[in-house]
Symmetry: C2
Subunit: 436 residues, 2 copies
Amino acid sequence: MTTTPTTLADCQARDAQDPLRALKNLFQLPQGVIYLDGNSLGVLPAATPARVAQVVTGEWGDGLIRSWNSAGWFDLPQRLGNQLAPLVGAGPNQLVCTDSTSINLYKVLSAALNIAREDAPQRKRIVSERSNFPTDLYIAESLARERGLELVLVEPEDVLGALDAQVAVLMLTHVNYRTGAMLDMAEVTAAAHAAGALTVWDLAHSAGAVPVDLQGAQADFAIGCGYKYLNGGPGAPAFVWAHPRHASRFWQPLSGWWGHAAPFAFTPDYQPAEGIARYLCGTQPILSLAALECGLDTLHAADALGGMAALRAKSLALTDLFIELVEARCAGHGLGLATPRAHAQRGSQVSLTRINPDDPNGPSGAYAIVQALIARGVIGDFRRGDGAAHPDILRFGFTPLYIGYADVWHAVEHLREVLDSGAWQAPEFNQNHAVT
Amino acid sequence: MTTTPTTLADCQARDAQDPLRALKNLFQLPQGVIYLDGNSLGVLPAATPARVAQVVTGEWGDGLIRSWNSAGWFDLPQRLGNQLAPLVGAGPNQLVCTDSTSINLYKVLSAALNIAREDAPQRKRIVSERSNFPTDLYIAESLARERGLELVLVEPEDVLGALDAQVAVLMLTHVNYRTGAMLDMAEVTAAAHAAGALTVWDLAHSAGAVPVDLQGAQADFAIGCGYKYLNGGPGAPAFVWAHPRHASRFWQPLSGWWGHAAPFAFTPDYQPAEGIARYLCGTQPILSLAALECGLDTLHAADALGGMAALRAKSLALTDLFIELVEARCAGHGLGLATPRAHAQRGSQVSLTRINPDDPNGPSGAYAIVQALIARGVIGDFRRGDGAAHPDILRFGFTPLYIGYADVWHAVEHLREVLDSGAWQAPEFNQNHAVT
């Protein structure tokens, strides 16, 4: 932390010296918007409109059915998987982009349970955090129910203690969607393995946001999202990874033709492909896959500038700055910090708690604050809490590809003005918000 | 059948009198192409490029995360489902567009098995046709394996005889992908129900191709494809329907957040939505969904011209004409008819078998014929056979929205010329073909 208060001029000077600054030009950000919600939906890459138009009019319109081969549609899940792999520490041909995170979780959790229980059928537990993203818990609940297993949900601090001889699979999200708290994947995986359990990691808020080393951590399975930090567009296909030691063991239950060993032989019986290809199922939405490729390109544009390590350093600098400025300039307004201060435990977002300083038991005002910020062009989002232990949250994602230091200054200034104005005393949360 | 041979002038006269003829202008067909593969990938609607561009640059680029509400992304699966519903005899709010056909089949087959076996656990069989589309069989094989059930595959003529007190679910494709043979959905469903079994129908080659009356047939569950006759684009999201009497019974196992009763409450436990919404799972690829909407619009453009009944009448006229012309003009070249002549048993395609007249046991030449036709701009496709009972097939789909009578004439002329030229004696099938 600085001892002299940081000024706008300081932020502008840091922008001027930032070697990643030009990456912002890879995106089409609307005028007047400071977008702190890339953790929910990444910004449109500038290359995407032309690429999608080419797929629509050229590959589909002119190429028609021939484009399955001539335009490489059939290889897209693998090709995109290989582009994504180095960003998460996966090797070549270990990862495919396909389907949704929920569906990919069903596939890998099913496989992980089969593998873990093959030699230890007494292991009947899936352990996860109660604060894990709900859809992950729903999928685990479904598999547990189908198979007569048990889903055990614990508080974050109790995860390691819950690893015993009854646990088959530990299913965790690497960076928590609410708080932005990041787990030590290698340490937690080692603890799970020591207890005889396998790990399934959700990288929805990690891929493209923080360095991930799946192979280095000896992780077992992973899934993640294409539309957040990977900038793949709304509902972009997700991804799935299996460590090579597991990839060809067991079918995953969504045994569609695209995961068949010989998909064009049209044999009536299923024979899974070797390796990660067996985690494919049905025909994929090519337009959305094509857009995801442009998103991956934006991450690789940083390769020559230091890659994920450089992005991570800037992300931490941005979140440090945001925390510093909020604490210095928005004091006395009931804000707290939900995201860990320790760099090793922080993702690429900052979540602020809010308790009404005039009425600690009353409405938090967090939703109204977020709405007032959005009206000013500062887009973050709101996550409802569920009581004193989990207060309402204002969530701000910092994507170093397109957010600068002065953006952080201005965002905090808008927050300060909203808080000072009393605009947060507006009606409470009453809208849907279809994002994680 | 005519007694005077049909001429090109006759075909042109029929085009001139065809009230559906102008619908072709709704599409961007490449110059010089006669596209007889709409049963595999429908043609690009003329409205799609602008619509997709608007979603990319306007809704995503400018609207960003706000578009989940402001652009109605969150309601797209239901909205598109309601547009599709009348084309397949489904009621309002009974159908959603989402995921892939394989994944949707997994959902409904799982639910159908649960319902059928709730009061009759002794029913352990899924019955299907051996010639059903392979991915359907793979999904059924997976569910049977997981649950200790039996997948029984029979020849088409043995389906009704296989319906006994051991059968839980009869899973069929309404129009066979190879032969174009169409089943009587009402009759087969009634037979299944009489035997105490439920029905799951795959409408991949039916939706938008032939009139379907799911409610009238008292069908139980159905799934289908968005990228064939619905013109939704490569890998367009699929659809899923459940009869209201079943829709809210049992979870489907892919219990993702989008199928939750309160998806924004973020509760840790799963509570399925009422009705068809519980068949949603994860976040959907919005760009591909938006393109599907333009495809559905092309079908509804026929509403004022007689709708599916008028499209069906033209489809039958086109396939009748094709059969007539092939038989009249391509005789002696070893072609046979795999598709039923009876209208009530025919989908919107004609499949020709091919046996080499010079060497009945040698290579059929069917693949080379299809390739030679494609080189001439007549795009159909090839399906490998598996022995004398199922010879190699040349498959031609007739989409009345954009195919005319003169197109049929020219296609047959090209076929005749290819056969006469001996060009079919080229190397055998050696390419992938990623389509159904």
